[in-house]
């Protein structure tokens, strides 16, 4: 199977600090791939390079057969990669619906069509009842789902989720987990960065573990979570 996203030897340095060094992995079409690791492991830097928010210092990123490393984030989005932000970035003065309409306008210039797409996505994410509220009035769990909705409205092939479950209560986490599972079943490939292990084990088919900017393990959840190096560096004593 050819990978949808292929990362090879990717590196990013900030002055002397190697935030990400020589990381390689493949995400296959239709899978849910998770990246985990302790704070400061380089997850978000890696993520930002894939999404075009940051240019790498070395290595390649191939998406659907095309090199995308160094492209601007709007060009990456146009090619079919949707993303959310770890610190949510809604358009606060716009309504929930208009937030999602802006996303849908990436694929069409017709407002009626964009509104239709927005309604579908808002229904999928359980936000349809709040469509006329201003985004600034939403609670954090709703804002997190709005992030996902806006990204989905661009009709991506690959969805990048940056700690979309952080700060949520377990019931809200389960709600997003089941939404993501449905989306994945309908063919969407998902790459997620997550701290909430409950969500990672429930969703991911494969996991990559980052530590000090380097990949220290990769495999199925069972393999990775039993890996002694992972337990020592990340899961720590609580898992033992």
């Amino acid at each position: 199977m050819t990978a949808l996203l292929s990362v090879r030897d990717l590196s990013k340095h900030f002055r002397g600090l190697a935030a990400v060094s020589h990381v390689s992995f493949d995400v296959n079409p239709g899978e849910i791939f998770a990246i985990i690791g302790p704070n400061g492991a380089g997850k978000t830097t890696l993520f930002n390079m894939i999404a075009g928010a940051m240019a790498p210092n070395g290595g390649t990123i191939t998406f659907a057969g095309e090199h995308i490393e160094g492209l601007r984030s709007d060009q990456v989005a146009q090619r079919g990669i949707g993303r959310t932000f770890q610190v949510v970035k809604p358009f606060p003065a716009l309504t929930v619906e208009d937030n999602v309409v802006v996303g849908a306008l990436m694929r069409t210039n017709a407002l009626g069509e964009a509104r239709k797409v927005a309604h579908e996505v808002l229904t999928q994410l359980d936000l349809i009842g709040k469509r006329d509220q201003l985004a600034s009035s939403l609670t954090l769990p709703d804002r997190k789902r709005l992030e996902v909705a806006r990204a989905l409205a661009t009709r991506p092939q690959l969805l990048l989720l940056d700690e979309v479950m952080a700060g949520l209560r377990p019931t809200e986490t389960d709600r997003i987990v089941s939404i993501l599972r449905d989306l994945n079943r309908s063919g969407l490939t998902i790459l997620l960065i997550e701290h909430v292990m409950r969500a990672v084990t429930a969703l991911a088919s494969r996991i990559l573990v980052l530590h000090h900017g380097a990949a220290i393990a990769e495999g199925t959840p069972d393999d990775v979570l039993r890996n002694p190096a992972v337990i020592e560096s990340y899961l720590g004593a609580e898992a033992l």
């Binding site: 932000f85 208009d98 802006v102 990436m106 017709a110």
Partner: protein, 333 residues
């Protein structure tokens, strides 16, 4: 606009139509003075729309719109006085001249990630050094000013904007109404949504595929072009131009007051703001005379106090509040 028109309730439509009819019929009952005040109302509503497009919609603060106003005014009036080219042709040369300046300022700022107050400083700088340049440009009279003759060949013809106040009254009304229609239409387009997204959060806008540089440049292109047309109006209405007046920062400031007072980023804000501000300035002048106050600057002090009161009472502008009270569902528009 069609969308906005359909969305407006029946009394929103009624108010809009009545207001338009009143303005159309106003010259029948107004004296010259009232007419000149209304011309200023429409002029500031028009320029307010142009500036609000860039600031209110695309979120980019320009404090140097006098640059485009002045370039528009000077281009068209110089073409007329030097070559006898009338304003209806001149305006189509004035627009690209001002738009090119706007695109250059925009490119310089946004290409090199100069944003917010730094971008505003850049816009001031360009207006200021253009003023100094024109102060020394002999062909347009340098600091001595450029004057339009009132008795040259064809100067009194309406097609050379040589008519009386009535011509300028309807011209300014058409400009204000036209600009409001244009802005409403743009707001309801996919471009309008992209502008709002860029204003609200550039990073998130880019993540949904919006080329933020291009979106801002288009806003600048339209805004500076519209302002140039206002400049042509200014030049032919006042019939004299001085660099120290038309390019002055006070020109840039006075044209942003109406949208701020009326409601930033709203369609009717600039109109409501202009309807409040121009008569306010005029009536303060009258009051000062009535009370025999003629200390220099006294009028501006009172004008400033009233602006502060309005802003502190209605920080979002008067229009959103007014729209709520008139039960018009355009409060956020």
């Amino acid at each position: 606009m069609s969308g906005l028109w359909h969305n407006a309730g029946w009394h929103g439509k009624a108010i809009a139509l009545l207001l338009l009819l009143a303005f159309l019929a106003a010259p029948l009952v107004s004296d010259r003075y009232l007419l000149s005040v209304l011309i200023l109302v429409f002029y500031f509503a028009y320029l307010g729309q142009a500036w609000n497009l860039l600031m209110g919609f695309a979120g980019q603060l320009s404090l140097g719109h006098a640059l485009y106003l002045g370039l528009g005014a000077y281009t068209a009036t110089a073409l007329w006085t030097l070559f006898g080219i009338g304003p209806w042709i001149g305006v189509f040369i004035a627009i690209p001249v001002a738009a090119a300046a706007g695109m250059f300022v925009g490119w310089l700022g946004w290409r090199f990630a100069i944003e917010g107050v730094y971008f505003a400083l850049l816009t001031i700088a360009f207006a200021e050094f253009t003023r100094i340049g024109f102060d020394h440009l002999q062909i347009t009279g340098a600091s001595g000013g450029l004057f339009l003759s009132v008795n040259g060949p064809g100067a009194d013809k309406w097609w050379n904007l040589g008519g009386g106040p009535l011509l300028y009254y309807y011209l300014s009304l058409i400009l204000a109404v036209g600009a409001t229609f244009l802005v409403a239409r743009l707001r309801q387009s996919s471009l309008g949504y992209r502008w709002l997204a860029v204003r609200e959060n550039p990073e998130a806008a880019q993540a949904v595929g919006i080329n933020i540089f291009r979106a801002r440049m288009i806003a600048m292109l339209i805004s500076s072009s519209m302002t140039a047309v206002g400049g042509v109006f200014y030049g032919f209405y006042y019939r004299n131009l001085f660099p120290s007046q038309v390019f002055d920062i006070s020109r840039s400031i006075e044209l942003i007051l109406a949208p701020i007072i009326g409601g930033l980023g709203t369609i009717f804000g600039p109109v409501v703001g202009a309807i409040i501000l121009t008569p306010l300035g005029e009536s303060l002048t009258g009051l000062m005379e009535a009370f025999g106050i003629n200390a220099p600057g006294a009028k501006l002090i009172f004008y400033g106090i009233v602006l502060m009161i309005i802003i502190s009472l209605r920080p979002d502008g008067v229009w959103p509040w007014l729209a709520r009270h008139l039960k018009l569902d355009g409060a956020r528009k």
